[in-house]
Amino acid sequence: MDILLHPVTQALIKIAIIVMGFVMALGTVLTLMERKWMSAVQDRIGPNRANVGRFTGHGALHIAADGLKSIFKEDTIPKGVDLLIFGLAPFFGFISAMTVWAVIPFAAPLGPVTFQITDVNIGILLVLALTSLGVYGAVLAGWSSNNKYALLGAARASAQMLSYEIFLGLSLVGLFMVYGSVQVSTLVEQQNTYWFGDVIPKWGMFTQPVALVLFFTAMLAESKRLPFDAPEGESEIIAGYFMEYSGMRWSAFMLAEYITVVGIAALTTTLFLGGYNVPWLHQDGFHLFGGFLPVPAWLVLLLQIGSFITKVVLLCWFIIILRWTVPKFRFDQTMELGWKKLLPVSLANVAVTALVLLAIDTWHL
């Protein structure tokens, strides 16, 4: 029992469960779901052909088929690539997409057991630092590919990701001021406090609605998905920075994209949708309008995990549907949106939040 409760063992178990059991699984399923959901939007059926005998599972076998295909596909390495960097680049995106999960809590701590891999006190700042590593994946891939399209894609990716990172951080400043912390566990606990007695939860989406839009937009730009897919730009620079990749390396880029999607959903949930919190559910039960409904601790835990996963999956769905809704921005439009519109808005958001907080403090509103 002692060894099980040792922080290192705990962390390892949590990493295995969260990364393998949830993140990788959801990311992999999303590769199929993106195609299924997109075809539903476009009045089509989507992939349904991969089969074992007569069993197709409505296309579920395509996940296995895709994996097998990319393993057995020839891994073409073009002439003149920088082999070391070419080989390393796919993992940067992957790692930066994965490390987000180090600080995401799945449920409130239960005694000595926390449902979060680590609760570092710089929390979100660590996440911001690690996600910005993702730009290396794109830049190194494009740089080492010995291909002008790839280089263009890498240039676009670096410019886009660096610009959007600025107000990705700025958009969260308001949130930090409201909750007074950058530690993820505190942020999430704070979101389980309520306005007007115990009616409206103080979720990030209610306290900082503008920041939600800004953060979500910036995260979309970081993930290089539509409408910010100029770095890939199929119609102009073919596949951008990863056009020279094939086989399993290419799959690593693809999988990293979906894991990024799951990561965006998890971060947005944690920061703006109340994290694992179920509205009005406290550690001992539901509190609403002075009423109280006791709930056993194990059920609270299950409800919290369930609520977190539901929110994440719904957000993943939203991100994917959004891709099939919005048209693509031209690259200059991406930059203009970032620097001329979203950056001033995020600065104004910080200023207004500060003023409101000052007003609340001064007049005890």
Binding site: A40, I321, T325
Partner: protein, 192 residues
């Protein structure tokens, strides 16, 4: 003729709402989510045709694989006049003429090969034929085989399949008699 030209002013909706970009996204999301919900949970109205199992009816005018028509007595209509071979832009028709006792016809094709891989499906052979002996109305639109030789369609292959055509339900030509009866000197190569 400018009288009928109407000028329509389209409202591009310039202004704050348009500049915000978000209302437009929400309207778009409404549309995509509506389609998504209908196709996922409601009545699916997908336009997909599950191709190999379901096939679309082709128009009778569609230029599909060729067929050689036959006379009422079942003998092949072609008189081996070489018109089609001559006009074919891709030189994919090969005819060898043979003699028939019937003096009103004189010739018939002993060999009538079409290399369907070279054919560009232009339909000029059909236009050129003076006897309506070659047509492209089989409705066979997807020629697929794993061997090149399979695309060398011989006279008998071209003649024989038209009555099996389920897709266009073409029935205006009488069914042929047996092969030997219709073409006693057939040397057509049947490649399956």
């Amino acid at each position: 003729m400018t009288a009928n030209v109407k000028t329509i002013t389209v409202d591009r909706g310039e202004g704050l709402m348009e500049a915000l970009y978000l209302p437009a996204i929400l309207i778009g999301l409404g549309l995509t989510v509506r389609h998504f919900m209908r196709n996922m949970f409601g009545k699916r109205d997908v336009v997909t045709i599950q191709y190999p199992e379901e096939q679309r009816r082709v128009s009778p005018r569609y230029r599909g694989r060729h067929r050689l028509t036959v006379r009422e007595d079942g003998f092949i209509k072609c008189v081996a006049c070489y018109m089609c071979e001559e006009i074919c832009p891709s030189h994919c028709i090969h005819i060898d003429a043979g003699e028939v006792p019937d003096k009103s016809v004189e010739k018939y094709p002993v060999v009538f090969d079409i290399d369907e891989l070279r054919c560009v499906f232009c339909g000029l052979c059909v236009e050129a034929c003076p006897k309506d002996a070659i047509r492209m109305d089989t409705g066979i639109i997807a020629l697929a085989a794993s061997h090149r030789d399979s695309f060398d369609y011989t006279r008998d292959l071209l003649k024989d399949v038209y009555h099996e055509n389920e897709k266009t339900k073409f029935r205006s030509v009488p069914l042929p008699l047996t092969e030997e009866e219709a073409l006693p000197e057939s040397v057509g190569r049947i490649v399956r």
